[in-house]
Amino acid sequence: MAGKKEVDQFSGVETTGHEWDGIKELNNPLPRWWLWTMYATIIWSFGYWVVMPAWPLISDYTRGVIGYSQRAELADTMAKVGQDRAARAGSLVDASLEDIEKDPDMQGFAMAAGQAAFGDNCAPCHGSGAQGGKGYPNLSDDDWLWGGSLEDIHTTILFGIRGDHSDTRYSQMPAFLKDEILTAEQVDEVVEYVLSISGQDHDQAKTANGAQIFAENCTVCHAEDGKGDRVQGAPNLTDAVWLYGGDRASIRQTVAESRFGIMPAWTARLDPVTIKSLAVYVHSLGGGE
């Protein structure tokens, strides 16, 4: 102690007394320009306070003489993006759905806009991948109740199904047992017939009667061959896709109590370009006709 600093024999420089594994730290003086550099940075900071936003005030902050703001820069960028988007959306207003799908530029825009709108509005019922669920149609398969062309999809989105819009797509299946149109036994028989035309296991003994009942009650909507009618949104009963389930119990429940799936009309909720974009997007999911 007592001010006697250890001096390194080799370099003649005093040490700080710090030692690691026998290596001692030399207390070399800092170069003077280093000090000047520090003073320069201090002077720089004063200039910075004047030029750039720097000090918080009670309800505001010093804005600096050039008025730079990151927030304004962001708003600027967003406004530019908005303009660009509006210009691109503008080209979709008058374009036909087919043209949108054919033009790579418009199609790209519609796909992006449609995907975003789908996630926000449609995914709660149809699922984020449009795979649907019981009562909510899968939009990526090739089975369509009301048609799978661009135009059909567009109409469905615009006006909805069994909704409150005056142009909504509408149809209603009777509740054959509840409304006492058929007896329980007749319902069982027609269910066996439906199982038979969709190629599933069925009770051979009942299908003859079932066919009779089907011809009398069901063909108006589901057609004589059971393949359905898109004008009425009547599903094809001979394929593998079932909105409410294709097993015996599910079909029986459908016949006995009917089903009444509702989709809202979007025309009042979304702008025309978004709805067009949605139609293009849904059409591209794999089942578009």
Binding site: G3, L30, R32, W33, L35, G127, D239
Partner: protein, 491 residues
């Protein structure tokens, strides 16, 4: 005073204390001592001139080399095109997803530096580092206007005169012109050089070009003209790191104290017996751009420029002693000679072998990568939501997004096929059938949707490996991507 202190001792408490700054009377800060290196001609000076010419030539001229890549691509051999996200290096063109080539180059550079250092010390510092090269150039300019060492020292001490002002002004102006050319050359690496040069001269260039040039001019002028050895001694991390690559077998500019000591002045005709060859003339110190004495041993400040070798060789010739009292030598050789053993150079050491091995392996990987680099790229993204879709006839469909990259500078047409599921059928969204070629614009990426549908009966496993093949119809080049087909089967 002391007597009073003793007298007062009974009534006053004595403190065993020292003033905080008493231990050292020296300043906390060190003034820079200006160094006036003397010019000395010799082997290493010539090597350094050559190295300077080569490195400065590469730096200033590279952006002007033209390279024909076709009509839609830049004609500059070396170009870092940030807006278009492309790096061009002669026949190599790097896309953003290929930055690993740059990583590879950086690894090669680092390991190369390690290898060179372990063989012969600070070769980089001494000959190739921009700080060394530009400082060397700036010192040459200084010498041109102000003369050699002694003249410069006299000029610095002389009172201001017209001649002093004009010589100093000419020096600083020349430095600034060199600095501006340095900054100017830098920006040419980032844009088409002739176009940018024209824009710069007509004050039409982007603001970033001017600010970059201004910054580079300022730093070059400051670091090459004024900071010089301070950069190496105080700012650069490499002098601290490089010691880890050295061992006692590494060559380094060394004063052979086994031969030089005991040193001392020598008069002509005096015998050389019983003394060393060093006549303590300090030629080695005056030529040193770092202003140090190599005879103090290996030190952090020494950039190993080897100029002191030339200086001492000159002296040794004059006094008729063998050259290379200062030379590239190894510590173990000096030790060996002192013990009377034969010196030997060991180039092959674990250290150099390992660095060389890494260098060779990384180079090989890079070369193989570059040689097999395809001009088309395929990325297949399987749909995960939903994993599969059941169609009305009960068959199963999987969806894939194909990202096809065409790196050519002309449009390409591709045929896409799916293999691995013979019963499956494939369809491209927006295409009539699979035989319709997929066109991809020059230098662009195109996304297409692929649907693969297989009858339920054909699916026996939950996950079936399939292969998607993309073939360039013009060149026949193919890329394949392995993926899977998912089926609704519980295992």
């Amino acid at each position: 005073m002391a007597g009073e202190g003793v007298k007062a001792a009974a009534s006053v408490n004595r403190h065993d204390v020292e003033a905080v700054n008493a231990a050292s009377r020296r300043s906390l800060y060190k003034k820079r001592e200006k160094i006036h290196p003397k010019r000395m001609e010799g082997t290493f000076r010539r090597i350094k001139w050559a190295a300077m010419a080569i490195f400065l030539g590469i730096y200033y001229l590279t952006p002007w080399i033209r390279w024909d890549r076709g009509p839609d691509a830049p004609h500059q051999a070396v170009l870092l095109d940030f807006p278009a996200r492309r790096f061009y290096f002669f026949f190599i063109e790097i896309w953003p997803q290929e930055v690993y080539y740059i990583t590879g180059l950086l690894i090669l550079a680092a390991v190369g530096l390690f290898l060179a250092t372990s063989i012969a010390g600070r070769l980089w510092c001494g000959y190739a580092c921009p700080q060394t090269v530009w400082t060397d150039l700036f010192i040459a300019v200084e010498r041109f206007f102000e003369g050699d060492r002694n003249e410069r020292i006299r000029l610095d001490q002389a009172p201001w005169s017209l001649s002093k002002i004009s010589r100093k002004t000419a020096k600083h102006l020349t430095w600034i012109v060199i600095a501006m050319a340095t900054g100017g050359a830098w920006v040419f690496y980032f844009a088409d050089a002739p176009t940018l040069a024209h824009q710069l001269l007509t004050f039409d260039a982007p603001a970033i070009a001017y600010t970059t040039i201004a910054t580079m001019t300022a730093t070059t002028y400051l670091l090459g003209g004024h900071a010089r050895e301070q950069v190496c001694t105080y700012m650069c991390p490499w002098p601290r790191i490089q010691g880890a690559m050295l061992d006692e077998e590494s060559l380094a500019v060394s004063y052979r104290y086994d031969r030089g000591e005991p040193r001392g002045p020598h008069k002509k005709g005096e015998p050389w017996e019983g003394r060393g060859d060093c006549i303590d003339c300090r030629q080695c110190v005056v030529v040193c751009p770092m202003g140090i004495d190599i005879r103090d041993g290996l030190q952090l400040e020494c950039i190993q420029c080897a100029l002191c070798i030339d200086a001492c060789d000159d002296i040794m010739t004059k006094i008729g002693r063998p050259k290379r009292l200062i030379a590239y030598d190894t510590d173990s050789n000096i030790q060996a000679r002192m013990k009377g053993e034969k010196p030997r150079y060991r180039l092959v050491r674990p250290r150099t072998v390992i660095y060389t091995a890494i260098l060779v392996v990384v180079s090989l990987i890079m070369v193989i990568g570059l040689m097999t680099r395809s001009v088309i790229d395929l990325n297949v993204i399987r749909d995960r939501n939903p994993l599969y879709v059941m169609l009305s006839d009960g068959s199963i469909r999987n969806g894939y997004t194909l990202k096809i990259i065409n790196k050519l500078h002309e449009p390409a047409r591709f045929a896409i096929s799916v293999e691995g599921l013979p019963q499956a059928s494939a369809r491209l969204l927006g295409f009539d059938d699979m035989s319709e070629p997929v066109e991809v614009a020059p230098d662009a990426l195109r996304s297409v949707r692929l649907f693969v549908t297989a009858p339920r009966a054909a699916l026996t496993e939950k996950s079936i490996p399939i292969v998607i093949r993309v073939r360039d119809l013009d060149s026949g080049t193919e890329v394949v991507n392995d993926t899977t087909f998912k089926a609704p089967i519980d295992e």
